[in-house]
């Protein structure tokens, strides 16, 4: 059937409209909201703080712990039963791996930095939105970071290569490849890479380069939101 034009009229390499706000959960040590298209992620950071149970403590460094949670009414159809499950646990793990390279918690042995991300509304690209929000929340919490990781899903929809697939594109009848990528904007290094679907090896490099460009744009949104946190009212 091919894919002559994107369902929502975007350019192939254009991410959906974005919005970010920092400090949305006052009780937390740091927090941020990130919206891309119809996907919304709220991240809150607590820590470094005491870690329980004790057996999880690492005497050489603090640990980063990410929790990803889709709210029951956030799915595309049926209610999502609370409790996370294996998908949420896996996303928590890849979030940790995506962010760990920029954080050094050796000065905080036996502690944990907890990142909780709740999503009240989802339309694909959720783990990427979660990572982007988490990065801002960690900065807001005063955690030292070499730079801010950002993430976006790239891939293939039918015969076209695109940036930031939405739910309908992921479900295109001709098939799609959904490739979530997290990158460090300064160094261009990839810290998260996964794929659902199929793609030719030669095309992977191309979509990763598209991802890099998009991630630099997303990083600008992150930086602006963090600066706006302290703007003179």
């Amino acid at each position: 059937m091919a894919y002559p034009k994107r369902f929502d009229g975007r350019a192939w390499d254009e991410p959906r409209p974005m919005e970010a706000k920092v400090g949305v959960v006052p009780r937390a040590d740091g927090s941020a909201m990130f919206r891309i298209g119809n996907t919304v992620a709220i991240a809150a950071v607590y820590g470094p703080r005491d870690l329980h149970p004790k057996f999880m403590q690492n005497p050489e460094t603090g640990i980063l712990r990410c929790d990803y949670n889709m709210l029951p009414f956030s799915g595309h159809g049926d209610r999502v039963k609370p409790g996370g499950g294996r998908r949420a646990r896996e996303i928590g793990m890849v979030m940790e791996n995506a962010i760990r390279p920029v954080i050094d918690l050796k000065d905080y042995p036996n502690t944990v930095v907890d990142v909780f991300v709740d999503l009240p509304q989802t339309d694909a690209g959720t783990r990427c939105a979660a990572i982007t929000a988490a990065a801002m929340a960690l900065a807001d919490a005063g955690i030292e970071m070499k730079e801010l990781p950002a993430a976006v899903a790239v891939g293939r929809v039918s015969d076209k290569f695109v940036v930031d697939l939405n739910y309908d594109e992921e479900a295109h009848e001709d098939g799609a490849a959904d490739i979530p990528v997290a990158m460090l904007p300064r160094s261009g290094k990839v810290t998260l890479l996964q794929m659902d679907g199929d793609i030719q090896p030669a095309d992977l490099k191309k979509v990763l380069q598209m991802a890099h460009k998009a991630i630099i744009k997303i990083n600008e949104v992150q930086k602006a939101a963090l600066k706006a946190r302290f703007a003179d009212k």
């Binding site: 603090g62 042995p109 005063g142 955690i143 030292e144 801010l148 930086k223 302290f230």
Partner: protein
């Protein structure tokens, strides 16, 4: 040697932002060197002085430092002392010998001296490599707190609330009639009449919000004078 400083003094910098370029510029706290560039590693207010760029944090949990005067909360009674929460990832221990000048007999009920939930003003006297913290209550200004109210502020903002040589906090005390003891860990004890306490807290919240904006001292002076008349 050429150097370019991109960031303006007293503006907000975010992690990953290139603050300056050139090997003659020196990376201070909250920054790191990446090749030729100095890069921000912590959200905060950039401070550019001579050739040193550092970041003054606006947030972050309190990290215990030797010599700090903090307000702690008793959370456990131990065999020969008390466990004290420091509002940081690391709790502290106060030994009976560091608690009071009176002699505490062995086997005494330590809860009679300091009970769970009591707030105390203490000084950090030792931090081990494993971040175990020892505190003492023997020394000027250190004591058990009675009555009053504990206010939570960001530890990063306490210096601003205290002010240079304690000038800001003195202004608040004079205007509100409250006793105020600030802890470097972000717990601040105040005691006065309810109206006075509320005013003092409002003042501290205002300083928290506007710590990075210029002219704060003048604004607070005017605000306090105006509200003290109420």
């Amino acid at each position: 040697m050429t150097e370019t400083i991109h960031i303006k003094d007293k503006t907000i910098a975010v992690p990953g932002e290139t603050l300056a370029e050139g090997m003659s510029v020196l990376p201070g706290a909250g920054t790191y060197r990446d090749g030729d560039a100095i890069v921000c590693s912590r959200l905060g207010l950039a401070s550019v002085e001579d050739k040193v760029i550092k970041i003054v944090p606006m947030s972050g949990v309190y990290t215990p430092k030797l010599g700090d005067h903090i307000i702690g909360k008793v959370t456990d009674i131990l065999l020969s002392g008390w466990r004290v929460e420091t509002r940081s990832p690391y709790s502290a221990v106060m030994n009976t010998k560091d608690a009071v000048t009176d002699f505490i007999p062995r086997g005494a009920n330590l809860a009679e001296y300091f009970a769970l939930g009591d707030h105390i003003v203490i000084k950090i006297v030792n931090i081990t490599s494993q971040h175990l913290v020892d505190v003492t209550m023997k020394g000027p200004g250190l004591m058990k707190l009675q009555g009053g109210r504990i206010v939570e502020v960001s530890a990063a903002k306490v210096p601003r609330i205290v002010g240079r040589d304690g000038s800001m906090i003195q202004m608040i005390k004079d205007a509100t009639g409250c006793e105020i003891i600030p802890g470097q860990n972000g717990w601040i004890w105040i005691k006065g009449k309810p109206q006075g306490e509320i005013l003092a807290i409002e003042a501290m919240r205002a300083i928290e919000r506007e710590a990075h904006l210029p002219g704060l001292t003048e604004r607070m002076k005017a605000w306090l004078t105006q509200h003290a008349k109420r």
